[in-house]
Symmetry: C2
Subunit: 334 residues, 2 copies
């Protein structure tokens, strides 16, 4: 994978439109409104819908009738938003996609309970897969869901530690982020009629793309264009968040650079100018070539994902929308 110089063809757009429409038509329940209104709210905040899109594109590899993956694909998006609703309580996050989080707009109790119902709703949407696939789909979803929770717990544990290694970090983001992209693709493959080997190949491809996706996120948080990036650029630096970049920098830095980095990390919130800290730490990253190391790692994960997709014994034209979407993810600037 090298840098994308031209935007990939948007051959995946019709599938994304179908996914968005399906999400907009999904209902969750009515009464009591305190329970169901937050679900409609968080689902309406948008997002890239990349997980259900991966499900549908993976199904399309194996069947013309990819539309039968639409309803189950929404399960993945609902599950993802359930994790956001609960993570936002744990992280005390005030905003999600620029809007108040559910525990801010309502309260923490409502965010806990609405999230619980969303997890149940995700299982209900998975019931839209054919009965012969159901035991396998539920078993794989259960494993994935537990792993996502494990990833979140590791992430919280890491906040209290200063000796997190790159291997530990990669394992954490694999659990917290990547396995769900892997499951999204595996789900589509199963629905499309893939055999076990093919389904596993798509899972692996999804996990690798997920790792590349998260590293890209870490990079964009520092190097993203504020005009295009949805979040505050430098947010991770201000919060001392242990990202791939910071862990790598802590490992590489020596002498004065090490001292300067540790100095910025040691300052209590509110005792420094945030823009100065972001500029200083970014400068350290640049000196150490952290941006290039991170880019190379992200690209390597995406390349592994691409390779797995290209190896699949499936006609090229069936693959094109998925390959284009993978290229879009790898080259994204927001």
């Amino acid at each position: 994978m090298t840098v994308i110089l031209t935007p990939p063809l948007m051959t995946f757009q019709p599938y994304l439109d179908a996914v968005s429409k399906q999400i907009n038509h999904t209902t969750y329940g009515e009464q009591p409104t305190e329970l169901y209104e937050p679900i409609r709210y968080i689902m309406s905040l948008g997002g890239k819908r990349l997980r259900p899109l991966l499900t549908v594109l993976a199904a399309h590899l194996f069947t013309d009738d990819w539309r039968k993956a639409l309803k189950p694909s929404v399960a993945v998006e609902v599950f993802h938003n359930f994790t956001l609703m609960h993570d936002d309580i744990m992280d005390q996050a005030p905003l999600r996609r620029g809007k108040p989080t559910v525990h801010e707009k309502w309260n923490a109790n409502i965010a806990i309970l609405s999230g619980d119902v969303m997890l149940v709703n995700a299982y209900e949407l998975l019931l839209e897969t054919a009965p012969q696939h159901l035991p396998r789909v539920i078993r794989r979803f259960n494993r994935t869901a537990a792993e996502v929770c494990e990833g979140q717990q590791w992430d919280m544990n890491f906040e209290l530690r200063s000796d997190v290694t790159q291997d530990e970090y990669i394992n954490m983001i694999r659990l917290k982020t990547s396995v769900l992209l892997g499951f999204a693709m595996e789900l589509g493959a199963i629905i499309g009629g893939a055999d076990d080997t093919q389904a596993q190949a798509l899972y692996d491809a999804g996990v690798n793309m997920g790792l590349g996706f998260q590293l890209k996120d870490d990079i964009l948080d520092v190097y993203g264009d504020p005009e295009k990036f949805g979040k505050q650029v430098g947010g991770d630096i201000i919060a001392n968040k242990k990202t791939f970049l910071l862990i790598e920098a802590l490992q590489q830095a020596t002498g004065d650079t090490q001292q300067a980095l540790n100095h910025w990390l040691s300052l209590p919130q509110g005792t420094y100018d945030t823009a100065t800290k972001v500029a200083a730490v970014t400068d350290i990253y640049n000196q150490l070539g952290i941006d290039k190391i991170a880019e190379a790692n992200a690209e390597a994960y995406f390349a592994k994902g691409f390779e797995a997709l290209e190896k699949l014994p499936v006609p090229k034209d069936r693959k094109q929308p998925l390959l284009d979407f993978a290229a879009y993810l790898a080259g994204r600037e927001s």
Copy 2:
């Protein structure tokens, strides 16, 4: 159903022993320990294990091989304990079965996330049912799980209202407590090979027993023997909790009695002697005959449950353990 004068035969004991053993042998996951230790903790606090017992006893109605219901029966107990873990956060409860709650012993974030994994674990345990039953079992469990969350939300809503009717209260406890007892019995019936009509009859019986069970709980909270009742007697009165008894009293009371009751309800926490309040409100209940009305209602629900069980076209000896357990629940003093 009249008052039980002699304790029912404990013909259900071997089934309860098998359920307890199965729960003790259930594993939930290992790493990170912060995620899985709270699950082992709350599951080790005990409880009556009445829900999985109902599953196994219902299966026994239809099959000699009731042991195949053991693993799935644990799903119901794990789900129940998941709701306790999350409800305790919402209710800021310090104690559960006399021991610190999970959010007290660890913290709220860990209680949220461990609870989430417990819900996933419940689905994993449901996968132990035969594949041909799985779509139906998952669909019915989803409905039940969503309803239990709805019940909890209504319960929280009712705390902020002073005009809750008895119909609303019964509907709330139906959702929060009874449907899970109904599902527990329906699950056992499905696993045992019952047809749809029989499974529905067991669900209905379970719901009615659940309503009787919760009214009995409301009664025991006021009239229970402190030596036998696990919780503080009078806790609901101190907290102004809108139980069947209080709602009935508010509806029945007139004149001085009404004034006295409203006076006790209006006093802010800490401005009165709790024992005096408990004695005074209990006295009002006695004057109005609330205890007898509540007992009659609890008995009527249990009677409906019994009737449904007795009508089932199943040999009497198959029913005996379940009938004995139902009698035990109806007559319980703790």
